[in-house]
Symmetry: C2
Subunit: 607 residues, 2 copies
């Protein structure tokens, strides 16, 4: 068993991710806060709604919770008395409105007090889970246990309703999340009943969901919320992808905490199902907007991708937990794919605008094509432009907490041995272990690691890297190189080349196409650089790549040889195959759509 | 002004279309009849519905009407007393239930008698139009005017309600069709008021639709049923594609009958909009299942194509009428594209199974991919297999009437000059004009025309043909070669080659892809011939085509050189571009999906 090192012990002082964390702290978190004020998400905690006001959403509490959790991670590293006071004010509201019995949910208390724990679809346990995670983070960051005490009272009540009295209209959450919170609570407090409550929800799922609400008869089926089979008999990723990966992450927690092999085997199979059959090259998961769900293997449409930012984050949670049980580089590889591509794309370079969906192709002229029907009946395409706020605003505060806690993903330990999972400039000290890493990972590919008090350093060999150099003797295992002599700095050099990647022949959409990558970054072409009709372009196998650092993106842009089809005025004409030579500019996928609405393309034809 | 020669004067005695007409008569029309008996479409004419019975559809009368019209065309050429008796029995029912005031609609009389002419969306005038066309055809075929008299009484009543009293809840039909019937009625009877009633509906459209029903506020907008602008200011094809093309055909009728230049200009612009920006290579139109509608220019998705069979037929009606005003080969070219591809594909080779939608690509594994939601909420894909009957069964009887009257599309006249629009083995005699054509058009490309009593023969040069030979001197105009010396047989030889066609660079779906054609036929590859994963194939520019006649399809199958991608087990891997040489077999598009559910592909990558 490995143990991931908490971001608390990790300092990120410079480089790509420090830059991102600064923007996250100074811009993104403030933008989320401003939007939440405007949209009355915070004031909904007052529980004073009446018919004259816009109705709050059932999941507002979870948005607030993720904001608080993000604030906790930020103030833990960079104290901010004003932000702390603001959060304490939110906690005041929660405390004031918590029921005698411990219950708190701003929506149900204000809008549907008669339906408490009667609607499986209504995110009550989901909100409770997020609030609990926020309370734990706030306690960690500030030492104040007021919020945590509130949430422990609420959890006590949940235990009473669901386990002791079994008086709720359902047995398992319609949207998983509380299971993750309960494992965190168990670890923080050592109280076994939290773990047992999590296991109660896991063990009843798919066997005894007792869903007596109307929702079961409606547009979804049991796959949607992973109630189609007992968790130990779930071997493929199914249904709503955020729900799914929160569940799978909790299953991994459970496997770790209880040593349950059947659960771990299910987790491994599900992980492989996602990574080998249902994941975009950007790491994005949940292919379809229909149910925001996983679909069938190899169905990976580009223009109609869903690939919700939150699902990517949930997948990172799942992978992070899997590594602890099974220290293999494949988990960190997936996290890397996500953190530099399909998650990071969810926020603009400036930090104040977001994507909920992360398509692999945008062609604005076809996005609103069903002109003869009203807008809500048109075929759905992902937004072509970043937005300041969404109605369903789960992704922005999920991003802020992910970026603020990116330090969680860098190091793991087995005893005094340290795994380097992500190459991020940072230092980490815990007990006698001290590690310092200087990484120029996205550009030159060079990494320097200084370590004291360790038995070994295990450095991940990224799946994209075919050639590397190390200045020390090493052995290889599980995708890591193990260096036992750490008396002098370890110098790693990954060969960085612009290269083309193909998808499996079963991904029919991408047959005969390629994606350009450079290190862990997936690239895309945009009409902002290449003029309109970028699908007319084809990339040359003989890339002749020019790589140039772009300070605004804090990464390289790449220009390669390619071809542009001759324009054909006739709708149909004899094929000539004529094209003209051109250069094609690619930018990192995470930086797409930062210059207004434009065409974008990841998978491009190769000639 | 040219005049199209009615199928009545044209005999098709052998060859491809005779074969199709025989199947149509002996199998398809009987299959439609059997399905209509099963689904109570005929018995609905009894108007005896009560709550204990399944509700009839609002458009059942139009299905019955198209069946009768088809039967009329069939018995006109091949007398069939049993079929005639059957149809007379249907007319009995209509006669029996026609109201005192002339009204007849089996749905409204039985189900919603209080809502007569109160629901613009409810197809009443559409059904009346189809019944009128059927009555005219029945009169032509049998000489019996009983049905026609019934329908003239109904039309009188419609004139009273809509023009005189203006007492309906709407002013123009929600689904166009009656306008076409009224022009036919005007031509058959010479009574100007029928033309005027058609003009009333046309002139009020988009200016004074007076739609007081709820439907206007629902999921569609004014584009859906072409009410967004006055007809003379409609220059692009919009909305529900069958509605649209029935309207455009009627506008062409109106332009011809009234000499209205503004109407003709609108028709020309709309025709060009469709043909140059919104038509599949198969002739299919109406790109989206959302509203069964035209979308935006160059949006021509293959797997999600709608391209309804009925819309193709409606487009052929439009083109046929345009030719009479503007004798140009472009109209017959479009009819040819449709009749050999996107219309004919609507019926199986055996004649008893149908497609409503005619996609350009089928990949069954992804057709029902949204496994976590109920079936009606899944993303829509066209059926991957032909069906015996549909709930909405407009297409099968539309096909039977189209095929039975294919003779309408072959010849046109200007005085004693004869245009050969379609190369179909047939003879035609009208007055002193006699023309006989022997055409081996789909295979060898040779055509022999013998004519007496004509001033000239104008033979269409098909748009696909780059090289031809004629045994006579000729001049060229409007896409036709004019031969004035018809004293000896005219021998035409079109160069037949398997060739590749590309789509405009603005059709992003088809960039870097080609379609294989041979004469007027578009081809497709199927997994039945080429094994699974046909999107892995790429066609070689250097075709090396082997062409072989297939008696069952009554057309050639073509085998060409190509490449198959190496199978790549990993979801993502370094691009190798490796592929193996192979032969790829193509069948005519009209013959697709005749061997069970299988993959199909028209547009294929070219190497």
């Amino acid at each position: 068993m490995a143990k991931n090192v908490s971001f608390k012990y990790v300092n990120i002082k410079n480089g790509f991710w420090r830059h991102r964390q600064t923007t996250n702290r100074d811009v993104t978190n403030k933008a989320v806060r401003d939007r939440f004020i405007e949209t009355r998400r915070f004031s909904a905690l007052d529980c004073t709604w009446d018919e004259s006001m816009p109705k709050p959403h059932i999941f507002y509490d979870s948005d607030v919770a993720k904001f608080i959790e993000s604030a906790a991670y930020i103030v833990q590293k960079d104290p901010d008395p004003e932000l702390e006071r603001f959060v304490e004010g939110l906690i005041d509201k929660i405390q004031k409105n918590q029921c005698e019995n411990g219950y708190f949910n701003s929506y149900f208390l204000a809008v549907e007090p008669d339906n408490i724990f009667k609607r499986r679809d209504a995110h009550e346990l989901y909100c409770a889970g997020h609030l609990t995670e926020a309370a734990l983070a706030w306690y960690d960051a500030t030492g104040s246990d007021r919020f945590l005490a509130i949430m422990r009272r609420f959890i006590d009540y949940i235990e009473k309703v669901f386990v002791v009295d079994q008086s709720a209209s359902f047995m398992t959450p319609g949207h998983e999340e509380i299971e993750l919170a309960l494992f965190k609570l168990y670890r923080a407090t050592g109280e076994v009943r939290y773990r047992d409550l999590a296991m109660f929800f896991l063990n009843n799922r798919g066997t005894n969901d007792k869903d007596t609400t109307d929702f079961v008869d409606s547009w979804i089926n049991a796959f949607y919320n992973q109630s189609h089979a007992p968790v130990r008999e779930q071997f493929t990723a199914e249904g709503h992808s955020v729900r799914a990966c929160y569940l799978y992450a909790a299953m991994a927690d459970a496997a770790q905490e209880t040593g349950d092999d059947a659960l771990f085997e299910a987790c491994k199979k599900i992980f492989d199902d996602i990574v080998s059959r249902k994941m975009y090259i950007t790491g994005g998961i949940g292919q379809s907007h229909v149910g925001e769900a996983f679909t069938v293997p190899y169905d990976l449409p580009g223009r109609r991708a869903y690939a919700e930012t939150c699902a990517g984050i949930a997948m990172a949670f799942f992978a992070l937990r899997m590594f602890e049980i099974d220290p293999d580089s494949k988990y960190a590889d997936v996290i890397e794919r996500l953190m530099y591509n399909g998650i990071l794309s969810g926020v603009s370079l400036g930090g104040s605008e977001f994507f909920y969906e992360n398509p692999l192709e945008i062609y604005p002229p076809f996005n609103n094509k069903d002109v003869s029907v009203s807008e809500e009946h048109r075929e759905h395409f992902p937004a072509a432009q970043r937005m300041e706020v969404f109605d369903c605003s789960c992704c922005p505060p999920n991003l802020t907490r992910f970026i603020a806690s990116i330090g969680d993903y860098i190091y793991s330990k087995i005893g005094e041995g340290v795994f380097i999972n992500q190459y991020i400039s940072s230092d980490f000290a815990e007990g006698k272990i001290k590690v310092k890493m200087e990484a120029d990972y996205l550009t030159s590919g060079s990494v320097r690691i200084t370590a004291t008090g360790v038995n070994f350093i295990a450095a991940r060999m990224p799946s994209w890297c075919k050639s590397f150099a190390i200045n020390q003797p090493f052995s290889r295992e599980g995708g890591y190189v193990f260096i036992y002599n750490t008396s002098k700095p370890i110098e790693l050099q990954f060969e960085m080349t612009a290269k083309l990647v193909s998808a499996s022949h079963l991904v029919i959409e991408n047959n005969h196409k390629v994606a350009l990558t450079y290190g862990p970054l997936v690239y895309c072409a945009e009409s902002a650089d290449n003029g309109p009709n970028i699908s007319n372009l084809a990339i040359s196998r003989n890339l002749n790549a020019e790589i140039k650092f772009d300070p605004y993106m804090a990464a390289d842009v790449i220009t390669v040889d390619g071809w542009r089809l001759y324009e054909q005025e006739s709708l149909y004409a004899d094929y000539t195959g004529r094209s003209t030579k051109t250069r094609i500019k690619f930018v990192p996928y995470f930086a797409f759509a930062n210059r207004g609405e434009a065409e974008m393309l990841v998978w491009m034809h190769a000639i």
